[in-house]
């Protein structure tokens, strides 16, 4: 068997097409996944440099780096906007969904490729086009200083008359089309291409996570597209959706944006949930505790995620009934997320735990997610949120719960699967150092922001009173440590490809039971051409 598989694969390796055909006209899920991962890494550098510029500016009271005039302050706002857009749309989503999703959903369900390989490629190239449009936005007519939420009237033609916001809008339109097509592709792949015997209730949890994420994308992104279209016509063609002077309603934008925006934060974190489940199970040498509960907890998070959006806009003047509803509905999300946290812990309980680097990242993820989840309970209360709204407390909350947690999930996935993707293992000591630097760095960076936010420091402002100086100074030191940790990741990447030890099909041994570990490392260009028979196998095996 092994020999025939070997020979079979060897034959295909001679069939790589030429450079342009392989990388620009690809219909191969692994190559497209690799392209996504590269774009995410490039975007992460750009988005990261923006955030370090922000932290450098905020290291001390007064203005350090930006000029003390409207242009300088606009530049600061553009950095905040660009950082948010890039990290959400061009780092986390491409890496998690486009990168790991493309690579491992077909491998894990035993399918030879995605359902629509050609459409898979336009998803990638539209994302690239969207990224270029966003970079143009940042460098034209002063850039968009609107924040990633693009609220009118700040984003209207009155306050951003240039082309920057229009480029931002069309960037999101194009990236949104990319994601909708990708979502359709994932749903059809998962529903239609599972190996014989792999029922829905036997899929690995990462595949479950991608399925639910894809449904959220499919239903949430078109609403953003509708809102963006209204903003575009308001700015350029004389409509008045968001202009109260003409009978419109600026709060409508906030509704449309957050009806998309809240599912969007689950789109970002659900794939990480899936990755963490695989890793915790692998390195505890146990199947995940409460498999079905884990799967349906994600489904519940996805459904409830559509009916809590207005907790992002408590300060717009809702009546008390509305605020009571959104407070209660938001709290409900704590139940399925609690199911997930405790099931991960129960999976580790009594397990034979190996603290490999992916597992270190998984445990760190659980820690960060719990911290962010607890502050989320605070912010869910509309009465409390009236005070916390637009403070650094909110910044600390969402960086813990979806920002850094998602990044840790990405690192966890990268260390877990790099052997499968490259055929080489990461360098052990360097990788552990990278983990500790990054983990300590982000905590030093974001933990003090709870306190400065508690004390009332507003977000998206480049200057602050001296009273906030100590917290901000510590925070900026944390940013420096995080920067070193990030740079070290690229060293790890280079050392892995240059000198990593070669690994076999399953470097993790007994605990790694999913199908991707049954094919060679690096995974051959075509896999699962003979469909695996999963009849009678336990869930996620």
């Amino acid at each position: 068997m092994a020999n025939s598989v070997e020979a079979h694969h060897g034959e295909h390796e001679h069939h790589y097409p030429g450079f342009f055909t392989r990388w620009f006209c690809s219909t191969n899920h692994k190559d497209i996944g690799t392209l996504y991962l590269w774009v995410a890494m490039i975007a992460a550098i750009i988005g990261g440099v923006m955030s370090w510029y922000i932290r450098a500016e905020l290291a001390e009271p007064g203005l350090q780096l930006i000029s003390n005039d409207p242009e300088g302050r606009q530049f600061y706002n553009v950095l905040v906007t660009g950082h948010g857009f890039i990290m959400v749309f061009f780092v986390v989503m491409p890496a998690m969904i486009g990168g790991f999703g493309n690579w491992f959903v077909p491998l894990m369900i035993g399918a030879p490729d995605m359902a629509f390989p050609r459409m898979n490629n336009i998803s990638f190239w539209l994302l690239a086009a969207g990224f270029i449009l966003l970079l143009i936005a940042a460098f034209i007519d002063g850039g968009p200083g609107t924040g990633w939420t693009v609220y009118p009237p700040l984003s209207s033609a009155d306050f951003h008359p240039g082309r920057a916001v229009d480029f931002g809008i069309l960037s999101l339109h194009v990236a949104g089309a990319s994601s909708i097509l990708g979502a359709i592709n994932f749903i059809v792949t998962i529903f239609n291409m599972r190996a014989p015997g792999m029922t829905i209730h036997r899929m690995p949890l990462f595949v479950w996570a991608m399925l639910i994420t894809a449904f959220l994308l499919l239903l949430a992104l078109p609403v953003l597209a509708g809102g963006l279209t209204m903003l575009l016509t308001d700015r350029n063609f004389g409509t008045s959706f968001f202009d109260p002077g003409q009978g419109g309603d600026p709060v409508l934008w906030q509704h449309l944006f957050w009806f998309f925006g809240h599912p969007e934060v689950y789109i970002i974190i659900l794939p990480a949930f899936g990755i963490i489940s695989q890793i915790v199970s692998t390195f505890s040498k146990k199947p995940v505790f409460g498999y079905l509960g884990m799967a349906y907890a994600m489904a519940a998070i996805g459904v409830v995620g559509f009916v809590v959006w207005a907790h992002h806009m408590y300060t717009v003047g809702f009546d008390v009934n509305t605020r009571a509803y959104f407070t209660a509905a938001t709290m409900v999300i704590a139940v399925p997320t609690g199911v997930k946290i405790f099931s991960w812990l129960a999976t580790m309980w009594g397990g034979s735990i190996r603290m490999e680097v992916p597992m270190m990242y998984a445990v760190a993820f659980i820690f960060l997610f719990v911290v962010g989840g607890v502050t989320g309970i605070t912010l869910a209360n509309s009465s409390a949120d009236l005070v916390f709204h637009d403070t650094y407390y909110v910044v600390a909350h969402f960086h813990y719960v979806m920002g850094i947690a998602a990044i840790l999930g990405m690192f966890a996935g990268w260390y877990y699967w790099i052997g499968k993707m490259s055929g080489r293992q990461y360098p052990e000591t360097l990788s552990r150092l990278q983990f500790w630097l990054f983990f300590i760095g982000v905590n030093v960076l974001f933990f003090p922001q709870h306190f400065s936010g508690f004390a009332g420091m507003p977000r998206r402002i480049p200057d602050y009173p001296d009273a906030y100086a100590p917290y901000n100074y510590i925070s900026s030191i944390g940013a420096l440590i995080t920067a070193v940790g990030t740079l070290l990741f690229f060293v790890v990447l280079w050392r892995t490809y240059a000198a990593g030890t070669r690994v076999g099909a399953n470097p993790w041994g007994e605990g790694a039971t999913t199908l991707e570990w049954s094919v060679d490392s690096p995974a051959p260009w075509h896999t699962h051409e003979d469909l695996p028979d999963m009849a009678g196998k336990a869930p996620a095996e």
Partner: protein, 271 residues
């Protein structure tokens, strides 16, 4: 890989230039569109559009060739294509959801503090619901019936009646678009006359655009029927077009009831 070697029912698609060229077209359209919106010429946008139409032609031509080679579109692949179309329509429903939200945000005080007490707002003379808008409702509902007639004929393998049903569906679709254009030309309110115009023109305008797309889709199916591309069991392209047409139909019913009917009920004629 040659398809005959395959041991699975899936379609391994050959490398294709269309996705990359299509993304270039989207980029050119976006940049050209912004140039045009900021007092530039329109040809940048038009250039992107031409490339995009070329990509759409080439890409779908490839899909039809793959469908006709008898190897690639297995039962499983066709099941996936149908599923994909249903999901695409679901995303389109959510796009219209946004425009209905805008409309109800402006008209129902429970939803918004800035909703209008009086709708249509003062100074707006809406269309009489039971003239052109109702005629268009009848036209579109009839086209829904003719496309269903075509579908039944298709399932009986009767290509002649399928073509006839499609012909009348396309004709009614074009009649609808023409009536809508005539209606726009005789509106008593302009595109930029406040929130009533914004919600009316964008909701009905995007619907009209979808009618045009659906009509083109049906025209393609008409010629594919004539060429004998479909069989009683195997007609995914036609099914997708029919589903799309029903979707366009249902959106119109909501538009008619909400925007034309309920949305003009508060109008009091000055005379």
């Amino acid at each position: 890989m040659v398809s005959s070697e395959k041991t699975h029912p899936y379609h391994m698609v050959n490398p294709s230039k269309w996705p990359f060229v299509g993304s270039v077209a989207a980029f050119v359209m976006a940049t050209g569109g912004i140039w045009y919106m900021h007092e530039g010429p329109i040809w940048g946008f038009m250039l992107g559009l031409v490339i995009m139409l070329y990509v759409m032609y080439g890409w779908w031509r490839d899909v039809i060739l793959e469908a006709e080679n008898g190897l690639d579109h297995t039962d499983v692949v066709r099941h996936g294509l149908r599923m994909g179309m249903v999901l695409f329509i679901a995303s389109e429903v959510m796009f219209f959801f946004a425009f209905f939200w805008a409309f109800f945000d402006a008209t129902i005080p429970f939803l918004s503090r800035t909703a209008h007490e009086v709708w249509p707002p003062e100074g707006i003379i809406p269309f009489n619901t039971w003239t052109l808008p109702f005629l268009n409702t009848l036209i579109l509902l009839t086209s829904g019936a003719t496309v269903t007639y075509a579908h039944h004929a298709m399932m009986l393998g009767d290509h002649k009646r399928t073509a006839t049903g499609l012909f009348w569906t396309v004709a009614l679709g074009i009649l609808f678009t023409g009536t809508q254009a005539y209606e726009y030309g005789h509106a008593a309110f302009g595109f930029t006359d406040g929130i009533y115009s914004s919600t009316f023109y964008l909701a009905t305008g995007f619907h009209g655009f979808h009618v045009i797309v659906g009509t083109i889709f049906l025209i393609v199916c008409y010629f594919r029927v004539k060429k004998g591309h479909f069989t009683a069991e195997n007609h995914v392209g036609f099914e997708a077009a029919a589903w799309y047409w029903h979707f366009v139909d249902v959106v119109w019913l909501f538009l008619f009831c909400a925007i034309y009917w309920w949305g003009s009920a508060g109008y009091v004629s000055p005379t």
